[in-house]
Subunit: 260 residues, 2 copies
């Protein structure tokens, strides 16, 4: 397939590389910054452009991988092209594209990407939505060339998936930062807790997390909870967070006792 | 070393297996339930007992791996034995043992254990504290027979480490449950977000989590945040949690923009 990438951020970068590796042809990479476009384009042997006037119409698919608020603007600017267009956002409805064309869909890779770390897309769930069944099938086929985990998810459900991902990814990462800052304040190394972070994520790769819950809250260990709140006495926001999370854990419909 | 294990829970089970594998001799395993004692004792070729009257004094070390509130009680019951005694708790001070003997220490493996999942102790940080330098050195040496990551951590700092571990392990695991429940309510499979959970934990194995923060809050994306709060309108506790965590992320001293 001939693919044009609109955007040069993390999602665009990882998708472009995966498509290129899967044997697709990346026609152009667009970014408002020609330098950013060129950086990605160079890696996937595409032409970099910084002006949508210079779009090469000899393409089969536009992947709009820009920030959420820019998706509609870009879709409008590409309205003259009849080719399939998809966006890659978890939070944006298909309707944002449907306003300008019928030949549209969503191609949402459910992963956290950074430019500095390679991710094997084979194991990354791709959530697909098409404006009609034929588009959906096309996108499914395309997604399967780079991933083994392709899901049909409509716009309403994709928003739920995105919300769940915030709880499963963005918020745990913030709690890692809280832990790191607590350690740093006592001149303790983050290295101490890296293994437990990894193991916690590892444990839920098979079972469900509710069955794996450990710690003072699931044991209703008030002494430890109060000691921890006391240690946080200079950090009211963290105290409140600790309380709220502990209350949530205590309320878990827990039959057995958690592992220690 | 000849080692006696007081307790047959997750920590006792994993330590016993690791010490046995490292060539130590497990003398006895005590549990209030003879069945539980026998289950673990069988695996490490030790004698199971359910009565502290039957302690075999031919041992070098008592490892008290029982729940926090029972540590003092056990220490008192073992007061007649002069051998080194350690507890394995992150939250309990060394003083709880010092009340009954001078020959005491702490041997705190910083990991989340379940009986159903093997953990390679080689990569598990062991936090060591001794009542004096000679005990500390002994415990360090012992810890190094099962782990490559041995740290000297005194009681005050161990409490900080334990608090950090609650933020880095117990609370993220709870957030995984929240995510799972959000998905389940819309008949969506937890499998969808397992990869992002693993990748999030994987990313902080090198760098620091603050540099890896992604999501609507770090982008100050109020539209998405408000949409998410709206999706949670029937769950006031989760709304509050979402708000608090997002506020924490927004406040992060963030110079660059997060990865998407």
């Amino acid at each position: 397939m001939r693919i044009t990438l609109i955007g040069s951020g993390n999602v665009a970068t990882h998708l472009a590389a995966a498509f290129k590796n899967a044997g697709h042809y990346i026609v152009q990479v667009y970014s408002r910054s020609l330098q950013n476009a060129a950086l990605l384009a160079y890696h996937v042997k595409a032409e970099p452009i910084d002006d949508l006037q210079n779009i090469n119409p000899e393409t089969d698919l536009f992947i709009i991988a820009v920030k959420d608020t820019a998706i509609g603007v870009i879709a409008e600017q590409l309205a003259q092209y009849q080719q399939l267009k998809v966006h890659t956002s978890g939070a944006v409805s298909l309707y944002t594209l449907l306003a300008f064309s019928d030949n549209v869909g969503v191609f949402y890779p459910l992963q956290t990407f950074s430019k500095t770390k390679e991710v094997d897309l084979r194991n990354v769930p791709i959530c697909i939505e098409g404006a009609n069944e034929s588009i959906t099938k096309n996108l499914e086929q395309l997604a399967r060339t780079i991933s083994n985990k392709v899901y049909r998810i409509d716009s309403d459900k994709r928003k739920i998936v995105h919300l769940a991902a915030v709880f499963a990814n963005n918020f745990p990462n913030y709690l890692y930062t809280v832990a790191q800052q607590i350690l740093a304040k006592s001149q303790l190394d983050f290295e101490l807790i890296r293994p437990i972070i990894q193991e916690t994520a590892q444990k839920v790769q098979q079972g469900l997390p509710a069955a794996m819950q450990t710690g003072p809250a699931i044991r209703n260990d008030e002494t430890t909870i109060n000691n921890h709140l006391q240690l946080l006495k200079d950090e009211p926001a963290l105290q409140e967070l600790y309380r709220l999370l502990s209350q949530g854990i205590i309320k878990l419909d827990n039959t057995g006792q958690g592992d220690k």
